[in-house]
């Protein structure tokens, strides 16, 4: 099931059929998408904490969830680093960042606060791979990123959050689990109509 189908399924369940136009308007597709993102994040968190509990740096189960995403490279003047706009939920969910035409150009994922340590150790002097710093909504590249003939697009192979998926992307988690997680945010909360006092909405 792809993303668009799932969201219209949820919308159909909530306000499908003969509901009035006013009700349908309150359950706008973007609103449903936002709560579906919350549910999907919860599933990703369960996968990640399961991996950390058993000391798995690589999560074999997420290989099926890896999606290729292409992003253009931008430049941040304040930090002096190139970056791409990409939301990665957790660094264990990011498999690989490469150039689209050179899959063996190695980008190394490093922790965002480890740079002072690496600068002092020998690994930074011997290896000239490009480092990748995964921060909240952006992925930065360190000083080894080429400045002459700089690449314009980066291919990121990650397990994406729902916001990074296109409408036609397959959702790889069991879709009923995602449906339940989304509906949890809707179940107990009904919107109130203050104009018609005390009348329950259908």
């Amino acid at each position: 099931m792809n993303k668009k189908e799932l969201l219209s399924l949820i919308r159909n369940k909530l306000v499908g059929g003969d509901t009035t136009a006013a009700s349908k308007g309150q359950y706008h597709p973007r609103v449903i998408e936002k709560s579906a993102e919350l549910g999907y994040d919860e599933i990703l968190q369960a996968i990640v904490s399961g991996g950390e509990k058993y000391n798995e740096y690589s999560l074999p189960g997420i290989d099926a969830m890896i999606t290729p995403i292409y992003k253009p490279v931008l430049y941040d003047d304040v930090r002096g680093q190139s970056y791409i706009e990409l939301r990665v939920y957790h660094k264990n969910l990011a498999k690989q960042f490469t150039l689209p035409k050179q899959p063996s150009a190695l980008f190394v994922i490093i922790d965002t606060v480890s740079e002072p340590i690496w600068d002092e150790l020998e690994a930074a002097k011997v290896d000239y791979s490009i480092g990748v710093l995964i921060e909240s909504t952006r992925v930065y590249f360190d000083a080894n990123f080429p400045t002459t003939n700089a690449p314009t697009t980066i291919l990121a192979k990650i397990a994406p959050t729902l916001s990074e998926m296109k409408d036609t992307d397959e959702i790889k988690v069991p879709t009923m689990a995602l449906y339940d997680a989304t509906m949890k945010y809707w179940r107990d909360q009904r919107p109130n109509d203050d104009l018609n006092e005390n009348k329950q909405l259908p």
Binding site: N55, N92, I109, D127, G131
Partner: protein
Amino acid sequence: MEFIEHNEMQPVKPVAAGKSLRYVVMSVLNRVGNYSTNEYRRLLQLAIECVQEELSMYHATSLEIYYAIVDDTGIVQMPKDCIDYIKIGMNVGGQLYILGMNENIILSRATKCAQNVDDIARGGLSLFAPINGYSFIDHMSPAGLYVGGLYGLGGGFTDPQYRWDDKLKRFQLNGSALHKKQVIVEYQSTGIGAGTILELPIIAPIRDFVIWQRIENDPRVPQSEKDRKERKYNESIEKLRAYKNMFTKQEFLDTMYRSYKQGIKR
């Protein structure tokens, strides 16, 4: 129309005999099944530490050559990857002539850069230095016969002399003959550089070291597992040591031949 048979051999890319540290780290990642790169730099650091601290010092020395120019104070500063020196000498006719060691040369700890050790030691007088820094008196007579008295008369080629300053990792030379001239130093190096090529026998110990150290400081891993990995690493080192200490065929034959005697001929 070309007909290509299905069992025609495709050109095969050769497997390299010299590997880099990066290869070792990739090999470890493959063995633990991690195909992302979030452990890469940490494992590379562990591999570097293994080569520097465990192998270069005790099991697999790496020999490097350094072509140095002696400065005005007679000091030859070794590069940063020098652990210990092996030879120092001059290039005479394409051969390395080793300098003589003199443990009594005063090591310069002078604060002024241009102070000459000779001036400090001898009050400004410097001994006569032969042309080109070496003197060699032929110990054959003009008729081509060996004359024992001439052997080493000129002092050989051990002027100038050197002393190794281990704390600052540099040579102190006396005599002014070699100032601004080139000396050649062979030394034991850490073996780590950007293009370091490792020989095949030391790949396995590095890999076992990295696999062990990867979990050594993790409190979630049981102690028995850590002990097992450490044992595996120690076995790799034993195998490397056995390989390095193997004698060659020529050495074996030499030993055999040395014991041969001829009996008395009657």
